[in-house]
Amino acid sequence: MPERLITYREAVNEAMRLEMRRDPNVIVIGEDIAGGAGRADKGIIDSWGGPFGATKGLIQEFGPERIRDAPISEMGFFVAAVGAAMTGLRPIADLMFVDFLGVAMDAILNQAAKQRYLHAGAVSVPITMRAMVGIPPLADPTKPGGGTAAQHSQTLYPLLVHIPGLKVVAPSNAYYAKGLMTAAIRDDDPVFVCDHKMLFAQRAAVPEEAYTWPIGKAAIAREGKDVTLAGFSYTTILCLQAAEVLAQEGIEAEVVDLLSLSPLDEDAILTSVRKTMRLVVVEESPPRCSVARDIAAMVADQAFDDLDAPVKTITAPHANIPYSSALEHLYMPTPQQIVGAVHEQLGRR
């Protein structure tokens, strides 16, 4: 049977649709996830289906009660979704752009992530939160450069990963997107799903039926023995591109696709590093308190005696994201930078 190729967007949409069919308590709440709640006067047909189309077509099947268009009140509807999660629903709350995190932050930091603990386990908070992250593509769908500027292009992973009580996942393609979204919806803990704009139109082979990819489990995206490249979300693609370049030089890079940021698959990373003795971690966020440095510190400690070279982190700089395409491309990590870091590591051999 030929594999079915669908886009990341379609995979997310399908995951939500299948879980909504399976469990009547799954709902989606967000701004313009339908658009005017499907405009009853028009016979409940969505207009936007989400600014990126993630929820397209769902209101036709599930109606405006369960596809709940929200007013522009992120803190309000995120906390409401937490409250709903504690009283029988399994809401998916859509933040649209992760850049809006600061408007809804307490709903995550002090609410979703702490209620189980405050209740000493007597209550679960099965909420899934999702947002689009990163610099978008522009003309060429494979090249970042959307020019959405400082308040619409961030990733902000570290602000999420730091929070105890929260799980954070960042899929790298449509296959993992569906598996992780399904796992997130079924999970009894709050899970934040980061979907990258660069990946949303990319296709991968995706089974039609529902399946989960375990939260907390990394994947080996490419095997190698000379150096480990760790990425997640779009930077996995950058790592794979760098691995291609390195392969042409005879350097066999192993690419660990983290997929989950919290919990982190430390074993997968350490196993790979103990084999290759070198690690480069790649992240689209600025460096300070980044996931990249978090992992680097963990590995530099746990694998101290195994490392042949310092762990390198490739991140965006400690800077804001510029609009002009002449500057914007300086922000995003590149395969060339990754290759350069590996060269540096091997030069030390």
């Binding site: 009660e65 803190m75 906390v79 409250g83 009283t87 609410q111 189980r116 386990g121 799980k167 919990p263």
Partner: protein
């Protein structure tokens, strides 16, 4: 308003139990036997009792750090509450939450929250859940203070409740102060008037008079329960203690003002009325007082004899599962 004597006695018993619980906590703290961050509800009993008497087991409530009273009305076990204050493993929240977070989900208490105003979207969420799960006949109640009405979530929560016609009752406990800030300094209109911005009906009520609260809340809760959408009650009340135990109220309000309210003490007003109108006999009330005293002694004993949580409890319940 005429109520059956069992209902009258129940109103009084709940108020007395709240008062007793808060007084016990204050005494334990002042005696140095309990050290914590405690926000007492004494003075405001008529609100939790007057509103809470209309709630059913399937209803949800969301409360703040000043929520002991509402928890008691919901029937939360007093022993567990007292143990929670003392950080015992037998506490309502196994010692993890403490005074500010006592919340028994089996009694429909969704959250006891420190973030001012956040009870509002919580109750909106619980009401949304009721609506989606078609649990008609159940409602959610948000309790919050006068200071909370300036938080963005007040606005966002009331708007969503209105747009979605959710079964949620908003109860503003206007005790005149947010910490040291008098309500007149921070809200330029009567709080009940703010409901109009969302096309939500509202009423203000004397929050020292449990009969008045009972009546107003009865009408409001019935409306909400019968699909009428949200409703806002502003109950004008007073907290006797400082914002927290240890706060010196006289730096921001006068002894005369405090005295004036104490003369309208909700338990006193109740006693006067039921005796004046011969609804109950003094002996019946005294018997309640004695029983309450007994229960609180028992709760203190329970707490004292309960073990502290073991270190294995520290990391549990952060997640349902975390590999």
């Amino acid at each position: 308003m005429s109520l059956p004597r069992e209902e009258l006695l129940a109103l009084y018993e709940k108020m007395a139990l709240i008062r007793g619980f808060e007084e016990t906590m204050r005494q334990e703290m002042e005696a140095g036997r309990l050290r914590t961050y405690g926000h007492l509800y004494a003075g405001e009993e008529a609100v939790a009792v007057g509103v809470g008497s209309h709630l059913l087991p399937q209803d949800y409530i969301a409360i703040s750090y000043r929520g002991h009273g509402h928890s008691i009305v919901r029937g939360t076990d007093i022993n567990g509450m007292m143990a929670e204050l003392f950080g015992r493993s037998t506490g309502t929240n196994k010692g993890k939450g403490g005074s500010m977070h006592i919340a028994d989900i089996t009694r429909g208490v969704v959250t006891a929250n420190v973030m001012v105003g956040f009870t509002i979207p919580y109750a909106v969420g619980a009401a949304l859940s009721l609506q989606v799960r078609k649990q008609s006949g159940a409602i959610a109640v948000a309790y919050f203070g006068d200071g909370a009405v300036n938080q963005g979530v007040f606005h966002e929560g009331l708007n969503m409740a209105a747009m979605w016609r959710l079964p949620v009752l908003f109860v503003c406990e206007n005790n005149g102060y947010a910490q040291a800030t008098p309500v007149e300094y921070s809200v330029p209109v009567p709080i009940m008037d703010r409901a109009a911005a969302y096309n939500i009906p509202s009423a203000a009520v004397d929050g020292m008079d449990v009969f008045a609260v009972y009546e107003t809340a009865g009408v409001a809760a019935a409306l909400v329960r019968n699909g009428g959408g949200p409703y806002l009650i502003e109950a004008r009340t007073y907290r006797y203690s400082g914002h927290y135990v240890g706060d010196n109220t006289l730096t921001y309000r006068s002894r005369e003002e405090e005295e004036r309210y104490r003369q309208r003490d909700p338990l006193l007003l109740f006693r006067q009325r039921v005796l004046d109108e011969e609804m109950l006999a003094a002996g019946e009330l005294d018997a309640v007082d004695a029983r309450v005293k007994e229960r609180l002694q028992e709760a203190l004993r329970f707490a004292a004899e309960s073990p502290a949580p073991g270190p294995d409890e520290f990391m549990s319940n952060v997640y349902a599962s975390y590999p």
